[in-house]
Symmetry: C2
Subunit: 153 residues, 2 copies
């Protein structure tokens, strides 16, 4: 793992990111990983890039993109004006799961959130993702909340 | 409830907002509702106001501020570039709980999220807030996720 690198994604990384999002038992039903990539993904990338409180991150190993997540910073009144960090859409390439690269990507992101002055990092994980909860608990996350969603589609 | 109004908060609403955040069994340990209001709250308000993807909302009843929440819009690659709406820091003045004003504030916010093109509204609620989960379920939210937090303090 000597050649691991964590950085903001560029537009050239987008196909790798969508491939990883789609290569997942839940993502397979949600994403469209085709060539050329549907325009909706490019527009979303541009919106993230234009928003200084949102960052799309990739993990690189020996020059290959093998992990991704999105970090959102949210200014907030509660907790005495405590800024929050939220992590979403965490994925690691199947053949690198269990290698430690996901853990390192999360630790790098947690340091970034600290540098930005956040008081906490939060995330929700689908109740069906049994391994994910254990992964986050090993990083120190506490399952203190219920995550609720309302679909608008 | 004829004179209910929902709108973006102004700086003049900030003391009412902090009072509601503090008047809560969890918030009481977290907030500092004193006069003058600690500078950290003003700075957070300015950060929210400067961020077009974050909105601090208040509910007004006969000219009195009786509810608040924060709405965050998050551009996202997953779900085919589906923008998310997140609701945080929901509070209703104690004497108006159960009056329906909280429900109307949420419904107004859900419509706003739809107008902004969001595919879903998400939130987490502390597992200790027993009434809150039922309140959100009645609005159509599904408790499909585990909400995890890592404190950085």
């Amino acid at each position: 793992m000597e050649n691991a690198l964590f950085r903001d994604a560029s537009i050239d990384d987008l196909p790798d990111i969508v491939r990883m999002l789609a290569d997942d038992f839940l993502g397979a039903q949600r994403e469209r990983y085709v060539h050329p990539l549907p325009e909706v993904y490019l527009r979303a990338f541009q919106e993230i890039e234009a928003d200084e409180n949102n960052r799309l991150i990739v993990a690189e190993l020996d020059g290959e993109v093998v992990g991704t997540l999105q970090l959102s910073l949210t200014p907030s009144i509660s907790f005495q004006g405590g800024k929050r960090a939220t992590v979403e859409s965490v994925r690691v390439e199947k053949k690198f799961r269990g290698s430690g690269i996901g853990r390192r990507m999360m630790m790098w992101t947690i340091e970034l959130a600290k540098d930005k002055g956040c008081i906490s990092v939060q995330l929700t994980t689908n109740a069906d993702r049994e391994d994910a909860r254990r992964f986050y608990e090993q990083l120190g996350f506490k399952a203190s909340h219920v995550g609720m969603k309302l679909s608008l589609k």
